[in-house]
Symmetry: C2
Subunit: 248 residues, 2 copies
Amino acid sequence: MDTTTSTACVLIIGNEILSGKTQDTNLQFLGAELAAKGITLVEARVLRDDKAAIVAAVNECRAAYTYVFTTGGIGPTHDDITAECIATAFGRDLVLHEEAVERLRRQGLELNAARLKMARVPAGASLIDNPMSGAPGFRVDNVFVMAGIPAVARGMFSTLDEELAGGSPIHSRNVDVYLPEGELAAPLENIVRKYSQVEIGSYPFFRKRGGERRFGANLVVRGTDEVLVDQVLQEIITTMTGLGGDTG
Amino acid sequence: MDTTTSTACVLIIGNEILSGKTQDTNLQFLGAELAAKGITLVEARVLRDDKAAIVAAVNECRAAYTYVFTTGGIGPTHDDITAECIATAFGRDLVLHEEAVERLRRQGLELNAARLKMARVPAGASLIDNPMSGAPGFRVDNVFVMAGIPAVARGMFSTLDEELAGGSPIHSRNVDVYLPEGELAAPLENIVRKYSQVEIGSYPFFRKRGGERRFGANLVVRGTDEVLVDQVLQEIITTMTGLGGDTG
């Protein structure tokens, strides 16, 4: 695959994702958005509300990737420890950010200790706007700290456009082929070998078509060269049709 | 929290989860199932189809946790590299498993090279039954290798009951409280401080109730002592009702 220069890692923070209480949906959203910007999402980790684990992961990942995005743990309750963890990871103090205080004040709510916690960020952090409510996220160097609630995470990410340097957008084409993976694997691998500049994936399914359940696979071609992606998809379709596989 | 002795990590393998193409649902399922068995899921990682990254994560996690569960990458196509990665991680050869070959044969399909790849496992691995189709998963020491397709992953996990040593099951109770998190945070923290044997989480929402949209939080109590979990939840309800918060 034609690799882009920017890479990313997502850290999903919260016991609720690991206990089975909550289905995460931020990862899929961020993966698609980053690909559209030409940033390769290389890894994601889901972590408990555990300070040592979060600090270690932040430090490992911010050294390894161009960008780190965290979701979750920036609210006012006892289990919201992300800001404190980021401060520790960077060896900085957690300080009250005046502009963040002002944004919370504008919501018209009493600024008690719990709410003021949402205005405490690592020293030197810049704010990430929250189009949904006042409480901002923040950025320290290459680490972007966002809320866990999907609508808020999406809103915050949408404000980052100019801060993220991507590469060429990654284009994706796919086709459903009604052949068992065991039959299409070898001819597909021949195509994979010919085109190292694109990434080809095979995702099997077993579904109803024309009254009967049939095996097949969704074949995906991804790459930055849109013309080549289209050409490889066409070659896959021609090859699979030649093998007797319905497509579409 | 009253920690159990067994811990787990889930490794979700596949470019499609990180590109935004596919929404993972195996993590939520495994998190809930492991909690019911008294096994604490401490971490999950989502990895690309990249051999070096998978080998490194497997070796790091199998040393750190009681159990490692992987999903994805055990089919017949070029992008299915999990078995090869596990073999490398353990320093073992990848060998044809006669019983796995027999199970594939019983499906009545031609055993070409691609299909036989699904019978290749690290030397010494034991098979994990696949109740959905013939192709098995496998286990090496504390690493359990399962399919990525959710129905197959669930089927395989369901056969592992006797192989997993858990602790006391983790009980969970929750209540919706219609108070903003910024108001309930301090009184909730007092309760958190009193009961270190349970884990308490607060998950905010903003939803319609009685014709208007209101802020609130789902408060969750988890622990192995069911009587205590019930008691703490009751104390939360009494406290929140005293603050003027509707519950239910």
